[in-house]
């Protein structure tokens, strides 16, 4: 009886000793980046090369309810070589996929501007798919002093 209790006590001790070890492993193990996961989902696993896409936002936004954002892609916009679509991703929004714009070769210029909601300071990513199937990305850092996802009532 006593022996069993002692054994149980020691196994408990061993368990307690292992706890910080487990925690350390969780912290230092494979870095899980949910954003990278989302990027993979939008591109269907294809590699995204940085460049050719310029995201223009104000560096500092007073509030996240309506932040002007424009995306331009370095592309000749011809039938043979044009931008097919532009996807806007937010790092911190509850729904990170903000919008997808499908362009036409007849657009003449690969430039789209809109206003977005941002839930706090973050990096905003734009991914462009070109007509040859390649993906390019550009990003902008926005400082938001008041986020969009608070209830104002």
């Amino acid at each position: 009886m006593l022996k069993r209790a002692r054994r149980r006590f020691f196994s408990f001790l061993a368990g307690v000793a292992a706890l910080p070890l487990l925690a350390a492993r969780a912290a230092s193990g494979q870095p899980v980046d949910p954003f990278a996961d989302l990027v993979r989902k939008t591109t269907g696993g294809a590699t995204v090369k940085p460049g050719r896409v310029t995201v223009d936002t104000p560096r500092l936004a007073d509030n996240g309810h309506s932040v002007p954002l424009s995306v331009s892609v370095d592309s000749p916009m011809t039938a043979a070589d044009h931008v097919r679509s532009i996807t806007l991703l937010s790092q911190r929004n509850p729904r990170p996929l903000m919008a997808t714009f499908h362009l036409d070769p007849a657009a003449g210029r690969a430039h789209v501007a809109t206003r977005v909601r941002l839930n706090g300071s973050q990096r905003v990513l734009a991914i462009a798919q070109l007509s040859d199937g390649s993906f390019w990305s550009g990003e902008a850092e926005v400082e938001v002093t008041e986020s969009a996802c608070l209830d104002a009532t």
Binding site: N93, P96, L97, L103, A106, H111, A113, T114, V116, R117
Partner: protein, 107 residues
């Protein structure tokens, strides 16, 4: 729903023109609550289509990440006189259409 499509009134053939669209819409995120505590259901314009004399020139799929009263600006090349038609639908299935005319002259 009130909307506005802005174009240059006239353009030369082949000229790059800017199309600007604003639609009056709350773009409700679904994350807000009424004063009584009931959640306000999500209702955003999820799809928008732009046609130039019947041919599609631009399409947008939007989510709650687009600000209320969505504003969109893009370009197209003026070909012939006619109109640019913007059609959209929101999560409640409500549709809207707005048009603007453009005169393309080589003068």
């Amino acid at each position: 729903m009130v909307a506005r499509v802005q174009l240059p009134a006239t353009a030369k053939p082949g000229e790059l023109i800017e199309v600007r669209i604003t639609i009056q819409h709350p773009m409700e995120t679904g994350f807000r609550f009424e004063l009584g505590g009931r959640p306000i259901p999500k209702n955003v314009i999820n799809s928008l289509l732009v046609r130039y004399n019947g041919t599609q020139i631009f399409r947008a799929e939007m989510g709650s990440g687009i600000a209320a009263n969505p504003y969109l600006q893009f370009h197209t090349v003026a070909k012939q006189s006619g109109e640019i038609e913007v059609a959209w639908i929101d999560d409640n299935g409500e549709r809207g259409v707005e048009k603007a005319a453009i005169a393309v002259t080589s003068g």
